[in-house]
Amino acid sequence: MNSELRYAYYPGCSGLSTSKDYEISTRAVCRALGITLKEVPDWSCCGSTPAHTVDHVFSAALSARNLALVEQEGLQTVITPCPSCLTNLKVAAHRMCEESFRNEVNRHLEQACQNSIRVKSVLQVLVEDVGLQALQDRVMKPLTGLKVAPYYGCIMNRPPDIMDFDDPENPVAMDHILKALGSEVLPFPLKVECCGASYGVARKDVVMHLSGKLLSLAESLGAEAIVTACPLCQMNLDLRQDQINKTLGTSFRIPVFYYTQLMGLALGLDKEDLLLDKLTIDPEPALEKMRQAEAEARSEEV
Protein backbone atom coordinates (compact mmCIF):
# COMPACT_ATOMS: atom_id res chain seq x y z
CA MET A 1 0.00 0.00 0.00
CA ASN A 2 1.18 3.48 -0.83
CA SER A 3 2.57 5.09 2.32
CA GLU A 4 1.89 8.60 1.07
CA LEU A 5 -1.87 8.53 1.47
CA ARG A 6 -2.22 11.96 3.03
CA TYR A 7 -4.93 14.41 2.05
CA ALA A 8 -6.64 17.55 3.16
CA TYR A 9 -10.11 16.58 4.33
CA TYR A 10 -13.31 18.58 3.88
CA PRO A 11 -16.09 16.93 5.95
CA GLY A 12 -19.04 19.11 4.89
CA CYS A 13 -21.71 20.53 7.20
CA SER A 14 -24.08 17.57 7.26
CA GLY A 15 -21.27 15.43 8.63
CA LEU A 16 -21.59 17.38 11.87
CA SER A 17 -25.30 16.73 12.04
CA THR A 18 -27.62 14.55 9.95
CA SER A 19 -24.85 12.44 8.40
CA LYS A 20 -22.64 12.02 11.43
CA ASP A 21 -22.69 8.27 10.75
CA TYR A 22 -21.18 8.87 7.29
CA GLU A 23 -18.56 11.18 8.75
CA ILE A 24 -17.51 8.87 11.60
CA SER A 25 -17.46 5.75 9.42
CA THR A 26 -15.52 7.55 6.67
CA ARG A 27 -12.84 8.61 9.11
CA ALA A 28 -12.69 5.15 10.67
CA VAL A 29 -12.37 3.39 7.32
CA CYS A 30 -9.66 5.79 6.19
CA ARG A 31 -7.77 5.24 9.43
CA ALA A 32 -8.02 1.48 9.05
CA LEU A 33 -6.68 1.65 5.50
CA GLY A 34 -3.75 3.90 6.34
CA ILE A 35 -5.14 7.12 4.89
CA THR A 36 -4.19 10.26 6.81
CA LEU A 37 -6.86 12.96 6.77
CA LYS A 38 -5.85 16.49 7.63
CA GLU A 39 -9.07 18.41 8.27
CA VAL A 40 -9.12 21.78 6.52
CA PRO A 41 -8.69 24.24 9.42
CA ASP A 42 -11.76 26.39 10.07
CA TRP A 43 -13.44 25.21 6.84
CA SER A 44 -16.71 26.86 5.88
CA CYS A 45 -19.81 25.71 4.02
CA CYS A 46 -19.51 25.26 0.23
CA GLY A 47 -22.97 26.82 -0.16
CA SER A 48 -24.32 23.57 -1.56
CA THR A 49 -27.20 23.83 -4.07
CA PRO A 50 -28.71 27.06 -2.68
CA ALA A 51 -25.54 29.05 -3.44
CA HIS A 52 -25.18 28.07 -7.09
CA THR A 53 -28.87 28.65 -7.71
CA VAL A 54 -28.36 32.27 -6.64
CA ASP A 55 -25.06 33.28 -8.24
CA HIS A 56 -22.08 31.46 -9.73
CA VAL A 57 -19.34 33.81 -8.54
CA PHE A 58 -20.79 33.71 -5.03
CA SER A 59 -20.94 29.91 -5.08
CA ALA A 60 -17.35 29.67 -6.31
CA ALA A 61 -16.19 32.17 -3.66
CA LEU A 62 -17.66 30.05 -0.85
CA SER A 63 -15.77 27.03 -2.21
CA ALA A 64 -12.61 28.97 -3.02
CA ARG A 65 -12.23 30.17 0.56
CA ASN A 66 -11.75 26.52 1.47
CA LEU A 67 -9.44 25.76 -1.45
CA ALA A 68 -7.29 28.70 -0.36
CA LEU A 69 -7.13 27.23 3.15
CA VAL A 70 -5.90 23.94 1.69
CA GLU A 71 -3.22 25.82 -0.26
CA GLN A 72 -1.98 27.35 2.99
CA GLU A 73 -1.62 23.87 4.45
CA GLY A 74 0.77 22.93 1.67
CA LEU A 75 -1.29 19.95 0.51
CA GLN A 76 -2.12 19.18 -3.14
CA THR A 77 -5.36 17.26 -2.84
CA VAL A 78 -8.51 17.76 -0.82
CA ILE A 79 -11.01 14.94 -0.46
CA THR A 80 -14.61 14.96 0.71
CA PRO A 81 -17.22 12.27 1.31
CA CYS A 82 -20.17 14.47 0.25
CA PRO A 83 -21.14 14.65 -3.45
CA SER A 84 -22.65 18.11 -3.05
CA CYS A 85 -19.47 19.53 -1.51
CA LEU A 86 -17.50 17.64 -4.16
CA THR A 87 -19.49 19.19 -6.99
CA ASN A 88 -19.21 22.70 -5.62
CA LEU A 89 -15.48 22.47 -4.96
CA LYS A 90 -14.84 20.86 -8.34
CA VAL A 91 -17.03 23.27 -10.32
CA ALA A 92 -15.39 26.22 -8.60
CA ALA A 93 -11.91 24.86 -9.41
CA HIS A 94 -12.96 24.12 -12.99
CA ARG A 95 -14.36 27.60 -13.61
CA MET A 96 -11.43 29.29 -11.92
CA CYS A 97 -9.13 27.86 -14.58
CA GLU A 98 -10.38 30.86 -16.51
CA GLU A 99 -8.36 33.79 -15.26
CA SER A 100 -11.09 36.41 -15.44
CA PHE A 101 -13.46 34.25 -13.41
CA ARG A 102 -10.74 33.50 -10.86
CA ASN A 103 -10.00 37.21 -10.48
CA GLU A 104 -13.67 37.95 -10.01
CA VAL A 105 -13.95 35.29 -7.30
CA ASN A 106 -10.81 36.52 -5.56
CA ARG A 107 -12.22 40.04 -5.39
CA HIS A 108 -14.59 38.70 -2.73
CA LEU A 109 -12.00 36.76 -0.74
CA GLU A 110 -9.60 37.95 1.91
CA GLN A 111 -7.12 35.20 1.08
CA ALA A 112 -6.79 34.79 -2.67
CA CYS A 113 -7.15 31.30 -4.12
CA GLN A 114 -4.42 30.24 -6.59
CA ASN A 115 -6.57 27.34 -7.77
CA SER A 116 -3.77 24.82 -7.38
CA ILE A 117 -5.70 22.16 -5.48
CA ARG A 118 -7.04 18.88 -6.80
CA VAL A 119 -10.45 17.87 -5.51
CA LYS A 120 -11.48 14.23 -5.22
CA SER A 121 -14.12 12.19 -3.46
CA VAL A 122 -13.15 9.81 -0.69
CA LEU A 123 -14.65 7.11 -2.92
CA GLN A 124 -12.22 7.95 -5.72
CA VAL A 125 -9.24 7.77 -3.35
CA LEU A 126 -10.38 4.42 -1.96
CA VAL A 127 -10.66 2.93 -5.44
CA GLU A 128 -7.67 4.56 -7.12
CA ASP A 129 -5.13 5.18 -4.37
CA VAL A 130 -5.85 2.38 -1.89
CA GLY A 131 -7.06 -0.09 -4.51
CA LEU A 132 -9.56 -2.91 -4.48
CA GLN A 133 -7.01 -5.65 -3.87
CA ALA A 134 -5.59 -3.92 -0.80
CA LEU A 135 -9.13 -3.46 0.45
CA GLN A 136 -10.06 -7.07 -0.17
CA ASP A 137 -6.95 -8.22 1.69
CA ARG A 138 -8.16 -6.36 4.76
CA VAL A 139 -11.67 -7.84 4.86
CA MET A 140 -12.15 -9.77 8.09
CA LYS A 141 -15.88 -10.32 8.05
CA PRO A 142 -17.09 -10.65 4.47
CA LEU A 143 -20.65 -9.59 3.77
CA THR A 144 -21.35 -12.85 1.99
CA GLY A 145 -24.80 -13.12 0.50
CA LEU A 146 -26.00 -9.62 1.40
CA LYS A 147 -27.90 -8.40 -1.65
CA VAL A 148 -27.27 -4.71 -2.13
CA ALA A 149 -28.46 -2.07 -4.58
CA PRO A 150 -25.66 0.48 -5.12
CA TYR A 151 -27.12 3.97 -5.47
CA TYR A 152 -24.71 6.77 -6.41
CA GLY A 153 -27.10 9.70 -6.69
CA CYS A 154 -27.13 12.22 -9.47
CA ILE A 155 -24.03 14.36 -9.04
CA MET A 156 -21.25 12.08 -7.86
CA ASN A 157 -20.16 11.52 -11.46
CA ARG A 158 -21.93 14.20 -13.46
CA PRO A 159 -21.28 16.23 -15.48
CA PRO A 160 -18.48 13.90 -16.59
CA ASP A 161 -15.98 16.46 -17.87
CA ILE A 162 -15.91 18.19 -14.48
CA MET A 163 -16.29 15.23 -12.15
CA ASP A 164 -13.73 13.25 -14.13
CA PHE A 165 -14.20 9.93 -12.35
CA ASP A 166 -16.00 6.69 -13.14
CA ASP A 167 -18.85 6.39 -15.66
CA PRO A 168 -21.54 9.10 -15.67
CA GLU A 169 -24.38 6.72 -16.62
CA ASN A 170 -23.25 3.49 -15.04
CA PRO A 171 -20.72 4.20 -12.29
CA VAL A 172 -19.10 1.11 -10.81
CA ALA A 173 -16.65 2.33 -8.14
CA MET A 174 -18.99 1.51 -5.28
CA ASP A 175 -20.09 -1.75 -6.96
CA HIS A 176 -16.47 -2.86 -6.99
CA ILE A 177 -15.95 -1.94 -3.36
CA LEU A 178 -19.10 -3.77 -2.30
CA LYS A 179 -18.03 -6.85 -4.28
CA ALA A 180 -14.60 -6.70 -2.63
CA LEU A 181 -16.43 -6.78 0.71
CA GLY A 182 -18.10 -10.01 -0.35
CA SER A 183 -21.64 -8.76 -0.88
CA GLU A 184 -23.86 -9.59 -3.83
CA VAL A 185 -24.17 -6.43 -5.89
CA LEU A 186 -27.41 -6.19 -7.87
CA PRO A 187 -27.53 -4.33 -11.17
CA PHE A 188 -29.45 -1.18 -10.24
CA PRO A 189 -30.61 0.70 -13.34
CA LEU A 190 -31.54 3.87 -11.40
CA LYS A 191 -28.12 4.28 -9.82
CA VAL A 192 -27.73 7.89 -11.00
CA GLU A 193 -31.39 8.93 -11.04
CA CYS A 194 -32.12 11.89 -8.71
CA CYS A 195 -33.78 11.14 -5.35
CA GLY A 196 -35.49 14.54 -5.09
CA ALA A 197 -32.46 16.21 -3.51
CA SER A 198 -33.19 19.07 -1.13
CA TYR A 199 -36.89 19.36 -2.01
CA GLY A 200 -37.84 17.21 0.98
CA VAL A 201 -38.79 20.28 2.98
CA ALA A 202 -40.21 22.73 0.43
CA ARG A 203 -41.76 20.25 -2.06
CA LYS A 204 -42.11 16.96 -0.27
CA ASP A 205 -44.29 15.51 -3.06
CA VAL A 206 -41.26 15.58 -5.35
CA VAL A 207 -39.13 13.50 -2.98
CA MET A 208 -41.97 11.08 -2.27
CA HIS A 209 -42.31 10.38 -5.98
CA LEU A 210 -38.64 10.19 -6.93
CA SER A 211 -37.30 8.39 -3.86
CA GLY A 212 -40.38 6.15 -3.99
CA LYS A 213 -39.33 5.01 -7.46
CA LEU A 214 -35.86 4.11 -6.19
CA LEU A 215 -37.20 2.13 -3.24
CA SER A 216 -39.72 0.39 -5.44
CA LEU A 217 -37.07 -0.72 -7.92
CA ALA A 218 -34.73 -1.84 -5.14
CA GLU A 219 -37.49 -3.92 -3.61
CA SER A 220 -38.52 -5.49 -6.89
CA LEU A 221 -34.92 -6.53 -7.51
CA GLY A 222 -34.82 -8.26 -4.16
CA ALA A 223 -32.37 -5.85 -2.57
CA GLU A 224 -31.88 -6.38 1.15
CA ALA A 225 -30.22 -2.99 1.46
CA ILE A 226 -29.53 0.15 -0.54
CA VAL A 227 -26.04 1.57 -0.34
CA THR A 228 -25.39 5.28 -0.82
CA ALA A 229 -22.49 7.71 -0.89
CA CYS A 230 -24.54 10.89 -0.34
CA PRO A 231 -25.98 12.39 2.86
CA LEU A 232 -29.03 13.80 1.11
CA CYS A 233 -29.84 10.59 -0.78
CA GLN A 234 -29.45 8.63 2.44
CA MET A 235 -31.78 10.98 4.31
CA ASN A 236 -34.46 10.91 1.63
CA LEU A 237 -34.42 7.14 1.32
CA ASP A 238 -34.04 6.27 5.00
CA LEU A 239 -35.47 9.00 7.22
CA ARG A 240 -38.32 9.68 4.79
CA GLN A 241 -39.08 6.02 4.01
CA ASP A 242 -42.12 5.97 6.30
CA GLN A 243 -43.38 9.24 4.79
CA ILE A 244 -43.01 7.62 1.37
CA ASN A 245 -44.90 4.54 2.55
CA LYS A 246 -47.70 6.70 3.89
CA THR A 247 -47.88 8.78 0.71
CA LEU A 248 -47.65 5.94 -1.80
CA GLY A 249 -49.45 3.26 0.20
CA THR A 250 -46.37 1.05 0.15
CA SER A 251 -44.66 -0.87 2.92
CA PHE A 252 -40.98 -0.59 2.11
CA ARG A 253 -38.63 -1.57 4.87
CA ILE A 254 -35.22 -1.38 3.23
CA PRO A 255 -32.19 -0.30 5.25
CA VAL A 256 -30.07 2.38 3.58
CA PHE A 257 -26.38 2.23 4.46
CA TYR A 258 -23.52 4.53 3.68
CA TYR A 259 -20.97 2.44 1.82
CA THR A 260 -18.42 3.33 4.49
CA GLN A 261 -20.59 1.70 7.15
CA LEU A 262 -20.56 -1.58 5.22
CA MET A 263 -16.82 -1.23 4.68
CA GLY A 264 -16.39 -0.76 8.41
CA LEU A 265 -18.46 -3.86 9.12
CA ALA A 266 -16.42 -5.97 6.74
CA LEU A 267 -13.14 -4.58 8.05
CA GLY A 268 -14.23 -5.58 11.55
CA LEU A 269 -14.28 -2.05 12.94
CA ASP A 270 -15.90 -1.18 16.27
CA LYS A 271 -19.59 -0.41 16.62
CA GLU A 272 -18.75 3.16 17.64
CA ASP A 273 -17.08 3.64 14.26
CA LEU A 274 -20.15 2.63 12.29
CA LEU A 275 -23.07 4.28 14.13
CA LEU A 276 -25.54 1.85 12.58
CA ASP A 277 -27.99 2.89 15.29
CA LYS A 278 -28.40 6.23 13.48
CA LEU A 279 -30.21 4.52 10.62
CA THR A 280 -33.96 4.97 10.78
CA ILE A 281 -34.78 1.65 9.13
CA ASP A 282 -33.24 -0.99 11.35
CA PRO A 283 -30.51 -2.81 9.39
CA GLU A 284 -30.27 -5.64 11.93
CA PRO A 285 -32.75 -8.06 10.24
CA ALA A 286 -30.81 -7.88 6.97
CA LEU A 287 -27.48 -8.30 8.74
CA GLU A 288 -28.82 -11.14 10.88
CA LYS A 289 -30.06 -12.95 7.77
CA MET A 290 -26.62 -12.56 6.24
CA ARG A 291 -24.90 -13.96 9.34
CA GLN A 292 -27.28 -16.91 9.56
CA ALA A 293 -26.79 -17.82 5.92
CA GLU A 294 -23.07 -17.71 6.44
CA ALA A 295 -23.25 -19.85 9.58
CA GLU A 296 -25.34 -22.42 7.69
CA ALA A 297 -22.92 -22.46 4.80
CA ARG A 298 -20.07 -23.00 7.20
CA SER A 299 -21.81 -25.86 9.01
CA GLU A 300 -22.48 -27.53 5.65
CA GLU A 301 -18.81 -27.31 4.83
CA VAL A 302 -17.94 -29.12 8.05
Binding site: C13, S14, S17, T18, C45, H52, V206, H209
Partner: protein, 188 residues
Amino acid sequence: MDVVKLDAGYDQAFVDAVAEESGQDPYLCYQCGNCTAGCPYTFVYDLPVHQIMRLLQAGQKEKILKSRSLWLCATCESCTTRCPNEIDVARIMDVLRHMARREGHVTEKQVKQFADSFLNSVKKHGRVFEFGTLVKYITRSGRIWTDYDLGPKVMRKGKIAARPHDIKGKEEVARIFRSVFGEANDEF
Protein backbone atom coordinates in the same frame (compact mmCIF):
# COMPACT_ATOMS: atom_id res chain seq x y z
CA MET B 1 -50.98 23.88 -27.31
CA ASP B 2 -49.55 27.37 -26.90
CA VAL B 3 -48.58 29.15 -30.07
CA VAL B 4 -45.50 31.33 -29.77
CA LYS B 5 -44.97 33.83 -32.54
CA LEU B 6 -41.24 33.87 -33.04
CA ASP B 7 -41.27 37.41 -34.40
CA ALA B 8 -43.31 38.75 -31.49
CA GLY B 9 -41.68 39.71 -28.23
CA TYR B 10 -38.28 38.48 -29.33
CA ASP B 11 -35.81 39.80 -26.79
CA GLN B 12 -32.30 39.64 -28.25
CA ALA B 13 -30.71 41.24 -25.19
CA PHE B 14 -32.14 38.45 -23.03
CA VAL B 15 -30.74 35.69 -25.26
CA ASP B 16 -27.36 37.43 -25.31
CA ALA B 17 -27.35 37.81 -21.53
CA VAL B 18 -28.14 34.13 -20.99
CA ALA B 19 -25.41 33.13 -23.47
CA GLU B 20 -22.94 35.45 -21.76
CA GLU B 21 -23.74 34.45 -18.19
CA SER B 22 -23.86 30.72 -18.90
CA GLY B 23 -21.03 30.58 -21.42
CA GLN B 24 -23.33 28.45 -23.60
CA ASP B 25 -24.69 28.90 -27.11
CA PRO B 26 -28.45 28.24 -26.92
CA TYR B 27 -28.70 28.06 -30.72
CA LEU B 28 -26.80 24.78 -30.71
CA CYS B 29 -29.97 23.08 -29.47
CA TYR B 30 -31.75 21.18 -32.26
CA GLN B 31 -34.66 20.00 -30.12
CA CYS B 32 -33.83 16.31 -29.96
CA GLY B 33 -35.59 16.17 -26.58
CA ASN B 34 -32.93 14.09 -24.87
CA CYS B 35 -32.83 16.53 -21.95
CA THR B 36 -36.54 16.17 -21.28
CA ALA B 37 -36.43 12.40 -21.80
CA GLY B 38 -33.93 12.09 -18.97
CA CYS B 39 -35.20 14.86 -16.69
CA PRO B 40 -36.65 13.34 -13.50
CA TYR B 41 -38.55 16.57 -12.79
CA THR B 42 -40.71 16.87 -15.90
CA PHE B 43 -43.66 15.53 -13.91
CA VAL B 44 -43.78 18.73 -11.86
CA TYR B 45 -42.58 21.19 -14.54
CA ASP B 46 -44.95 23.58 -16.29
CA LEU B 47 -42.47 23.78 -19.18
CA PRO B 48 -40.31 20.76 -19.98
CA VAL B 49 -36.65 21.65 -20.31
CA HIS B 50 -36.41 21.23 -24.10
CA GLN B 51 -39.27 23.73 -24.45
CA ILE B 52 -37.39 26.18 -22.27
CA MET B 53 -34.44 25.80 -24.64
CA ARG B 54 -36.67 26.45 -27.64
CA LEU B 55 -38.33 29.46 -25.98
CA LEU B 56 -34.88 30.75 -25.19
CA GLN B 57 -33.92 30.56 -28.85
CA ALA B 58 -37.12 32.48 -29.54
CA GLY B 59 -36.15 35.15 -27.01
CA GLN B 60 -39.30 34.65 -24.90
CA LYS B 61 -38.06 36.19 -21.69
CA GLU B 62 -41.33 36.62 -19.78
CA LYS B 63 -42.56 33.12 -20.48
CA ILE B 64 -39.31 31.59 -19.32
CA LEU B 65 -38.66 33.68 -16.25
CA LYS B 66 -42.20 33.06 -14.98
CA SER B 67 -41.85 29.31 -15.36
CA ARG B 68 -42.11 27.13 -12.26
CA SER B 69 -39.65 24.71 -13.83
CA LEU B 70 -36.73 27.03 -13.11
CA TRP B 71 -37.35 26.67 -9.38
CA LEU B 72 -37.93 22.93 -9.50
CA CYS B 73 -34.77 21.96 -11.36
CA ALA B 74 -32.47 20.20 -8.89
CA THR B 75 -29.35 20.51 -11.06
CA CYS B 76 -29.11 16.72 -11.25
CA GLU B 77 -27.07 17.16 -14.44
CA SER B 78 -28.95 14.56 -16.52
CA CYS B 79 -29.64 17.10 -19.28
CA THR B 80 -26.06 18.36 -19.36
CA THR B 81 -24.65 14.82 -19.36
CA ARG B 82 -26.90 13.66 -22.19
CA CYS B 83 -27.01 16.68 -24.52
CA PRO B 84 -25.57 15.50 -27.87
CA ASN B 85 -24.44 19.05 -28.63
CA GLU B 86 -22.66 19.40 -25.31
CA ILE B 87 -24.75 22.28 -24.11
CA ASP B 88 -24.52 22.68 -20.33
CA VAL B 89 -28.30 22.82 -20.01
CA ALA B 90 -28.28 22.68 -16.21
CA ARG B 91 -26.04 25.72 -16.18
CA ILE B 92 -28.49 27.56 -18.41
CA MET B 93 -31.32 26.61 -16.03
CA ASP B 94 -29.21 27.96 -13.16
CA VAL B 95 -28.61 31.24 -14.97
CA LEU B 96 -32.31 31.58 -15.81
CA ARG B 97 -33.09 31.05 -12.14
CA HIS B 98 -30.58 33.78 -11.22
CA MET B 99 -32.38 36.12 -13.62
CA ALA B 100 -35.83 35.18 -12.35
CA ARG B 101 -34.63 35.89 -8.82
CA ARG B 102 -33.10 39.24 -9.78
CA GLU B 103 -36.28 40.28 -11.56
CA GLY B 104 -38.55 39.16 -8.76
CA HIS B 105 -40.28 36.27 -10.52
CA VAL B 106 -40.64 33.73 -7.76
CA THR B 107 -43.04 31.02 -8.87
CA GLU B 108 -42.11 28.48 -6.19
CA LYS B 109 -42.01 30.62 -3.11
CA GLN B 110 -41.21 27.86 -0.67
CA VAL B 111 -38.26 26.65 -2.69
CA LYS B 112 -36.78 30.14 -2.54
CA GLN B 113 -37.58 30.45 1.17
CA PHE B 114 -35.75 27.21 1.86
CA ALA B 115 -32.69 28.24 -0.15
CA ASP B 116 -32.65 31.66 1.54
CA SER B 117 -32.97 30.11 5.00
CA PHE B 118 -30.06 27.80 4.21
CA LEU B 119 -27.85 30.65 3.05
CA ASN B 120 -28.87 32.79 6.00
CA SER B 121 -27.54 30.07 8.25
CA VAL B 122 -24.23 29.92 6.36
CA LYS B 123 -23.90 33.69 6.63
CA LYS B 124 -24.53 33.60 10.35
CA HIS B 125 -22.41 30.63 11.39
CA GLY B 126 -19.97 30.00 8.53
CA ARG B 127 -21.38 26.49 8.25
CA VAL B 128 -24.97 25.52 7.73
CA PHE B 129 -26.84 24.73 10.92
CA GLU B 130 -29.52 22.33 9.71
CA PHE B 131 -31.91 22.65 12.62
CA GLY B 132 -31.70 26.45 12.53
CA THR B 133 -32.32 26.38 8.77
CA LEU B 134 -35.49 24.39 9.28
CA VAL B 135 -36.73 26.70 12.02
CA LYS B 136 -36.00 29.75 9.88
CA TYR B 137 -37.80 28.19 6.93
CA ILE B 138 -40.84 27.38 9.06
CA THR B 139 -40.90 30.95 10.40
CA ARG B 140 -40.61 32.45 6.92
CA SER B 141 -43.05 30.13 5.20
CA GLY B 142 -45.52 29.76 8.05
CA ARG B 143 -45.62 26.02 7.34
CA ILE B 144 -45.49 24.88 10.93
CA TRP B 145 -46.36 21.23 10.22
CA THR B 146 -43.41 20.70 7.90
CA ASP B 147 -41.85 17.36 8.80
CA TYR B 148 -43.31 17.40 12.32
CA ASP B 149 -43.68 13.63 11.95
CA LEU B 150 -39.92 13.24 11.64
CA GLY B 151 -39.33 15.02 14.96
CA PRO B 152 -39.51 11.99 17.27
CA LYS B 153 -37.29 9.86 14.97
CA VAL B 154 -34.70 12.57 14.63
CA MET B 155 -34.66 13.41 18.33
CA ARG B 156 -34.61 9.82 19.55
CA LYS B 157 -31.60 9.01 17.41
CA GLY B 158 -29.84 12.32 17.91
CA LYS B 159 -29.75 12.65 14.14
CA ILE B 160 -29.57 16.41 13.93
CA ALA B 161 -27.19 18.71 15.78
CA ALA B 162 -29.03 20.88 18.28
CA ARG B 163 -26.38 23.60 18.27
CA PRO B 164 -24.64 25.42 15.43
CA HIS B 165 -20.91 24.91 14.79
CA ASP B 166 -19.76 28.50 14.46
CA ILE B 167 -16.38 28.85 12.82
CA LYS B 168 -13.69 31.39 13.72
CA GLY B 169 -13.89 32.88 10.26
CA LYS B 170 -17.66 33.36 10.25
CA GLU B 171 -17.31 37.12 9.81
CA GLU B 172 -15.06 36.48 6.84
CA VAL B 173 -17.79 34.31 5.32
CA ALA B 174 -20.42 36.96 6.04
CA ARG B 175 -18.19 39.47 4.24
CA ILE B 176 -18.31 37.27 1.10
CA PHE B 177 -22.10 37.62 1.20
CA ARG B 178 -21.91 41.39 1.65
CA SER B 179 -19.23 41.76 -0.99
CA VAL B 180 -21.28 39.89 -3.60
CA PHE B 181 -24.80 41.07 -2.77
CA GLY B 182 -24.14 44.44 -1.12
CA GLU B 183 -24.51 45.62 2.46
CA ALA B 184 -28.21 46.25 2.12
CA ASN B 185 -29.22 42.78 0.96
CA ASP B 186 -31.55 41.19 3.48
CA GLU B 187 -32.61 38.10 1.52
CA PHE B 188 -30.20 35.87 3.39
